[in-house]
């Protein structure tokens, strides 16, 4: 097993469906609604790197969350006594999204229940996003004095300029049906419990397709939509990092602990 398997909170599993092998990375911290720590983000990246290298090659990847929601965002309790934590989280998030997007196999996000803030940003690393009608998605972080700019280039590729503006500036969450309407999600199911099996089925159907054609098509789409533009992606990260540890952020996060 890879290093990532030895750690808790991120799980790497495999399934073979009709001869096609798929990998499944699961955020496994359901008691905290899969709230992300820097280690978890690093482990997702390590698992994705491993999936890229292992033999036999998995031909598609599912990114899923254990418990009731896909991911509630960063574990903000870590920021309480650590001024550098927010920067660490943002930097790891950016790396992880880039790694997922650049895998030569399709990535399907199984976003049931909720994908909030950093959890919603993770969806931008996926090629196909599946959610359910009552799931909550979005970027409420401006309330906390945090900027979601880090996610902006790939969110813009997914939903367009105007909707990116709306989603990143308005802290209000949207439901799965609205996420489908604006193309943040590609499929929206009625029941949260159906999301993961559907994600596995979609991944299996992609895994059965010709490998080279899929890899070249994904690489070309990445080229066309800016997924390889490190300079732009770095600038987006830096825009978020510039606010990390600001007075506004510290005050607003501190208010979380006192309320």
């Amino acid at each position: 097993m890879p290093t990532c398997g030895a750690r808790r909170m991120i799980r790497l599993d495999h399934q073979t469906i009709d001869g096609a092998r798929i990998a499944i990375i699961t955020l496994d911290r359901h008691e905290k609604r899969n709230a992300l720590t820097p280690d978890m983000l690093e482990n997702i990246k390590l698992c994705a790197d491993h999936v890229h290298e292992e033999q036999p090659h998995p031909r598609a990847l599912v990114l899923a969350g254990a418990g009731d929601v896909f991911c509630a965002g960063f574990d903000l309790s870590l920021c309480r006594d650590d001024d550098l934590m927010m920067s660490a989280l943002l930097t790891r998030l950016a790396e992880t999204i880039r790694t997922l997007r650049r895998l030569p196999i399709p990535v399907v996000a199984s976003a049931h229940g909720g994908a909030i803030a950093g959890g919603c940003a993770l969806l931008c690393g996926a090629d196909i996003v599946i959610t359910n009608a009552t799931a909550k998605l979005g970027y409420p972080v401006v309330r906390l004095g945090v900027s979601p700019a880090v996610t902006s280039p790939l969110l813009r590729a997914a939903v367009g300029q105007a909707r990116t503006r709306e989603r990143l500036l308005d802290p209000q969450l949207i439901d799965g049906a609205e996420a489908l309407r604006i193309s943040l999600a590609h499929e929206c199911l009625d029941r949260a419990d159906d999301v993961f099996p559907r994600a596995v089925a979609v991944a299996a159907s992609l895994a059965a397709k010709p490998r080279h054609a899929i890899a070249v098509t994904k690489r070309w789409l990445n080229q066309l939509d800016g997924s390889y533009e490190d300079e732009t992606l770095d600038r987006a990260l830096n825009a978020s990092l510039a606010l990390a540890g600001s007075e506004e952020e510290r005050e607003r996060l501190a208010a979380l602990w006192t309320n």
Binding site: D127, L206, A213, I214, T217, L221
Partner: protein, 249 residues
Amino acid sequence: MSDLALLTIENAIATVTLNRPDARNALSPELLEALLARFDELAQRADANVCIIRGAGKAFCAGMDLKRILDDATAIANLLKSIAELTLKVRTLPIPVIAQVHGAAIGGGCGLTCVCDFAITHAEAKIGYPEVDLGVCPAVVAPWLILRVGAGQARRILLQGGTLSGARAYELGLVTQLTPADELENTVMSLAERLAKAGPGAISATKTWLNQLEGGETLAQQVRQGAIISAEVASSTEAQERLRAAFSR
């Protein structure tokens, strides 16, 4: 000139017809050559204010015709280059272009649909990009599809392959209008008449400006680069095996 592609102009409305109905208007080297010539001819004409592209027979266009040239990497590269040039010619034509999509628009045919300023179809039409299922990469048409539906939806459509119904294609924005099959011709004609009556200078300037906004030369480079990528993948062993199996069915 070959009658594989026809051009007529009546009341300022040009109609270009893909005229290879026995092959569902599949884009062979000869058909592409004829289409390129027709669009060159049209670009020189001052008496057309709008253009309709349609297909003779049962389907608009079944995609690229690789059957006869499967063993010839150079011919495949040339075919894809021609498709790229055709899309660029349609896009840069200084008059609006409407795709009248009946029956099916597959692969390169769907690319032709996406590059038109307007595309009208019916709910039961079969539309899409099954390229990856055949081991082929739809790289030429990807930039046009992204402009139509956005990069996020394009990703799903191109990676999942298969085809969509006309109704679903309309929901995703891949076509711009849906009409009952038996009203398709009339619906297209009334749009063409509307466009033909508008100020030709204003329409042309607006289309040219929109082309510049969406990338102009950069986009053209991407489309041409896409032809090289598609040709490489179509000549791969994986694609050759899949295509041979599909042709022998």
